[in-house]
């Protein structure tokens, strides 16, 4: 076992994890963050995406011990049902959420892009979400939502 200390959605946290424990399981089981999901478990679907130091990573292939001293963000950082982030609102308004399974990961990849690039082109948006699969929407509404949110949101770190 190891103690890892890191920033989780802006708050300092510490916990004991197994050496072989994946960040995905630590977040779900030790912190009850269920927005981070296990789809494929091998880096092919993106539903386990989290931001580490503001860049998207697959938590299904990240050992929990690796985030010691780093900053981790999940979709809870953006907002919740009571107070949605403009990017989340844009997803709802554009019809970019159907079953919702891909949505937390998709939002994080989009948020990371908008932190670096306030006015991305459609191809930059597509590239940024190319590591997140959506089986429902066909992506058009998702790209639209990100484009709509780009002007509105202050996504600075």
């Amino acid at each position: 076992m190891k103690i890892v200390s890191f920033a989780l959605n802006g708050k300092k946290v510490s916990c004991e994890v197994q050496d072989r424990e994946l960040l995905l399981h630590a977040l779900r089981e030790r912190f009850s963050i269920k927005s981070v999901k296990e789809g494929c478990g091998i880096g092919e679907c993106g539903t386990c995406t989290v931001l580490i130091d503001n860049e998207p990573h697959y938590s299904c292939l990240t050992l929990a011990s690796k985030v010691d001293g780093h900053d981790v963000k999940t979709v809870e950082y953006l907002g919740d049902a009571g107070l949605l982030h403009p990017l989340q609102k844009a997803f709802i308004e554009a019809g970019a959420v159907q079953c919702g399974y891909c949505t937390p990961g998709m939002l994080l990849s989009a948020y990371s892009l908008l932190m670096k690039n306030e006015n991305p082109s459609d191809s930059e948006i597509r590239e940024a979400i190319s590591g997140n699969l959506c089986r429902c929407t066909g992506y058009i509404q998702i790209v639209e939502a990100i484009r709509d949110a780009a002007g509105l949101c202050k996504c600075k770190p």
Binding site: R20, L22, E44, G46, P56, H57, T62, S65, S130, G131
Partner: protein, 278 residues
């Protein structure tokens, strides 16, 4: 769920080498994008040494044409490095194609080399940059050319207690470089075919051409006979057509005939022609 193992995360190279020397059944982990997938599929080991906290394995340094790349540098960091864009454009391009943004933020150049997949995207560009690898263990240091480092598909000359410590390349100023891969889909797909090139031209003549082909043969390779053939020749359709045909012949010579070649060889031919035309 991963099989059980113990892990350590040293902060210096010396500590990592000491762990590698003393721990049994030990593996290095960098980004984990190959190793953890293999472990989920059943590969076992008792100990893991995580090298991502070691600053000195993440350095990039260069003076003109001699460039040293730390093995724990991620694909995302390589494709963003201006020096590599200028002096090793095919490597930057290949790093930009790998996997997905998440994989590029996690995976490293050292992991791509040590995993030694026949389809590894960084190997063809590194071959044309005459890459030499620096390898260390507690017993000492050695250097090896990339051509010799990969001994078979998924097999390198690395011993369990050894660490890849530098990837040393020759920058190619004044060359037109590129990397193209054909894969089933753009993101994620593992390359089924790839070509890296660096071409120096003078008016309508090829001065010097370097080519490497990936995913066609058990290990990516440079068709040196074709490079030699092109040096000094007039750049026209005839030369380019002949060179592409020679590449295909070379692939056949190395591998013999394969069912997939009915598709692959015409595509390689097309890619090589495009690369040479510019």
């Amino acid at each position: 769920m991963l099989p059980d193992f113990a892990s350590v995360s040293p902060e210096t190279k010396a500590d990592a080498l000491a762990y590698l020397a003393s721990l049994d059944d030990v593996r290095v982990i960098a980004g984990g994008t190959d190793l953890l997938v293999n472990m989920k599929r059943g590969e076992l080991c008792s100990n893991v040494v995580d090298i991502m906290n070691i600053e000195e394995l993440r350095l990039l340094s260069g003076d003109g044409t001699d460039i040293a790349i730390g093995p724990a540098i991620t694909h995302a960091a390589i494709s963003a490095a201006a020096m590599l864009n200028d002096l090793a454009g095919s490597l930057s391009a290949a790093c930009g194609w790998i996997g997905s943004p998440q994989i590029r933020n996690m995976g490293t150049i050292g992991g791509n080399l040590a995993n030694a997949s026949p389809a590894a995207d960084l190997i063809p560009p590194l071959l044309i940059h005459d890459t030499v690898l620096k390898i260390e263990s507690q017993e000492g240091k050695r250097e090896e050319r990339l051509d010799d480092f990969i001994v078979a598909p998924y097999e390198t000359s690395l011993k369990p207690h050894e660490l890849l410590t530098w990837v040393c390349i020759k920058g190619l100023p004044g060359y037109r470089e590129g990397y193209r891969r054909i894969a089933r889909r753009a993101a994620w797909a593992i390359s089924r075919l790839s070509v890296a090139w660096a071409v120096r031209e003078d008016g309508d003549r090829f001065v010097d051409v370097k080519l490497a082909i990936g995913s066609c043969t058990p290990m990516p390779f440079r068709p040196r006979n074709v490079e030699k053939f092109l040096g000094g020749r007039k750049k026209d359709d005839h030369t380019i057509g002949e060179a592409a045909a020679l590449v295909v012949e070379e692939i056949r010579r190395i591998t013999g005939d394969r069912p997939s070649f009915a598709y692959k060889l015409p595509v390689v031919k097309g890619l090589v022609q495009k690369a040479l035309r510019g």
